[in-house]
């Protein structure tokens, strides 16, 4: 059950307590996140909404171990990541996080198969095992017939599906999606959201998604709103906090 009051179950997959993130720009301190608490259970699909600059992407970066908080702690599946060294954090990321970006960020000189295989190269899997995993992941996103295509030969929606396959191929603990439909037309966006919904419902994947699109947020089991670095639950609550 998603909670933002800091009183969540200690068995939550993701626990965030008193999270602050402050940037310095010139002489000025910018408080992007302030005392943020969050609990997300395994298999939950959570959407984060909020205006630009509200701290959504910063929160995602902190959860993915790409950035470090100024204060507070993040515990994922029992591992506190806030004090991990750079190398440990990299290893942790490889095992636990699948990233899906707005601009897909596929490597253009690699085929769909090779792009999806990238996270598996870091594992000890044999070549045939890697192939099996990649084929499965591409099958889940419906691109088994496009394995040997390069990104330039795919549509935007197909590229994003390859990116999803790359994110799930190593079976990470949770997926972080930063505006996954932000660069797609409605039809392609729906396809992507269908896949994410299926990953959550059929495969019990925990998904945290940042979006500006209310229709995308509707697919999530819970929608949280960020405003001026503060997290609030539900649309009404958000309206209240903005008032």
């Amino acid at each position: 059950m998603v909670r933002v009051d800091g009183r969540g179950d200690s068995n939550s997959l993701i626990q965030i307590r008193g999270l602050d993130k402050t940037y310095r720009r010139g002489g000025e301190e910018i408080h992007v996140l302030q005392g943020l608490n969050l609990d997300v259970g395994k298999g939950e699909f959570v959407a984060f909404m909020g205006p630009s600059g509200s701290g959504k992407t910063t929160l995602l970066n902190l959860l993915g171990g790409l950035d470090v908080p100024s204060r507070g702690k993040i515990v994922v599946d029992g591992d506190e990541i806030t004090h991990m060294s750079g190398n440990k954090l990299t290893e942790w990321r490889a095992r636990h996080v699948g990233f899906i970006f707005q601009m897909y960020n596929l490597i253009p000189v690699l085929t769909a198969f090779q792009n999806v295989e990238l996270p598996l190269l870091l594992t000890k899997l044999s070549k045939s095992e890697r192939r099996r995993h990649v084929e499965t992941a591409l099958g889940v996103v419906g691109l088994s017939d496009r394995m040997n295509y390069y990104p330039r030969q795919l549509s935007g929606g197909q590229e994003q599906r390859v990116a999803i396959a790359r994110a799930i191929v190593a079976d990470p603990t949770f997926l972080l999606c930063d505006e996954p439909t932000g660069d797609l037309d409605r039809k392609s966006a729906d396809d992507i959201l269908n896949i994410l919904t299926r990953l959550s419902t059929e495969y019990a994947k925990t998904i945290l998604m940042v979006t500006h699109d209310p229709m995308a947020a509707e697919r999530a089991q819970a929608t949280l709103h960020l405003n001026k670095g503060v997290l609030v639950e539900g649309v009404e609550a958000a309206a209240g906090s903005l008032a």
Partner: protein
């Protein structure tokens, strides 16, 4: 090597740029190969000079002669094992551009002093018997298509007229680096035909000593023997003589080092710039690699690896071209550089240099890639 696909896909991303960069390395290493060959050719005489051989020339200059009568007096000096004398001929074969060194040699002593220049016994005996006989080095014989029995006319310069020689033999060096470009004929034939003012004079003496450790003492004794005479001598080891000869051509080593340094510095800038551009273009991709779990060290090695592969490919191509040039085209001076050979050692050194340039030029962009923060890099996209 499971990362091979990733490395080569990145490497071949911009094929034309890759070709140009590899081409830069190839040109630089081709030049390196040829410069090393030229340097080697100049210094080869120094490197292969016999430790037990001394050369005696006129103290004034090598172009001033010495009396033949010195020979017996030198032989009497303790420690001298054998001695031979030579004269420079400097004739022209068909065209002035067909240069090769021609020496009038003493048939009785030549082989004692230069045992490494080998002539088959039957050919040598025919040469000794024929007053107009000649022996050519294998390289020169090949160059002009000569074979034993050919008649070779050479136009004299200081010795007038056309001199006819019968090619009686071909010598080979016992070692790969021995000079196989010389042309020998009998000193007696030379003595017979030169103008009177040259008679009884030799160009220089070469002698062998019993013990190389005594070379300094013997050289001093010889020069003392002829001090205050009309033909004072200067005796030095063959190595020192060869080094002095090279020095007359100017500071070849400095020249070659200067050219080489400029070429490699330019290459460093070109490759460094190429790698910097390659990394800048791929900022987001490198960030994604890090995001999915590739370590900073991996990214550093990935960029550095690309730079090194280009260096090895380009360097290898350049060195193979240089090797091909030395084998197929040979000495472009036709005889001035008789030892025109690119050794495996020099090629290895060249490849090492290419790798060093590749590493240095790739290091700065690679460190930049390693330090790249995923968050910053993705924000730039």
């Amino acid at each position: 090597m499971k990362y091979r696909g990733l490395i080569f896909a990145n490497l071949f991303r911009k094929k034309f740029r890759l070709l140009l960069t590899i081409g830069s390395f190839a040109v630089a290493l081709f030049l390196f190969g040829l410069l090393a060959v030229v340097k080697g050719a100049f210094s080869q005489g120094v490197d292969i000079a016999g430790a037990d051989r001394l050369v005696i020339i006129n103290r004034v200059s090598i172009i001033q002669p010495l009396p033949l009568s010195y020979k017996d007096r030198i032989l009497r000096i303790p420690g001298v094992k054998s001695i031979t004398h030579d004269n420079w001929f400097g004739g022209i074969y068909q065209d002035e551009r067909n240069f090769f060194a021609q020496f009038a040699i003493d048939v009785a002593t030549q082989r004692e002093v230069f045992p490494e220049l080998v002539v088959p016994e039957d050919q040598w005996q025919n040469f000794v018997k024929d007053r107009q006989g000649a022996i050519a080095g294998a390289q020169t014989a090949k160059r002009f298509g000569w074979k034993v029995g050919d008649r070779i006319p050479i136009k004299g310069t200081f010795a007038p007229g056309t001199w006819e020689f019968n090619l009686q033999g071909i010598y080979h060096g016992a070692r790969r680096q021995d000079d196989e470009s010389q042309f020998w004929f009998q000193w007696d034939y030379f003595e017979e035909r030169v103008p009177d003012r040259f008679k009884g004079l030799v160009g220089w003496y070469t002698l062998r000593v019993e013990n190389p450790d005594d070379a300094g003492r013997i050289a001093k004794a010889i020069d003392q023997e002829f001090s205050n005479s009309p033909y004072e001598t200067r005796t030095e080891t063959e190595k020192a003589f060869a080094a002095g000869w090279v020095k007359q051509m100017g500071n070849i080593q400095f020249l070659i080092l200067s050219i080489g340094s400029v070429v490699f510095f330019t290459l460093l800038l070109v490759t460094g710039n190429t790698m910097a551009i390659a990394v800048r273009e791929r900022t987001a991709e490198l960030a994604v690699l890090k995001a999915v779990g590739y370590s900073d060290r991996f990214v550093l090695l990935l960029v550095l690896g690309e730079s090194l592969i280009m260096a090895v490919l380009g360097g290898g191509v350049g060195l193979l071209l240089a090797k091909g040039f030395t084998v197929m085209v040979g000495d472009p001076t036709h005889g001035l550089l008789p030892y025109f050979y690119l050794s495996l050692g020099t090629m290895s050194a060249g490849l090492g240099l290419a790798v060093a340039v590749g590493a240095v030029s790739g290091l700065v962009p690679a460190i930049g890639a390693m330090r790249l923060r995923v968050v910053d890099a993705l924000r730039r996209v």
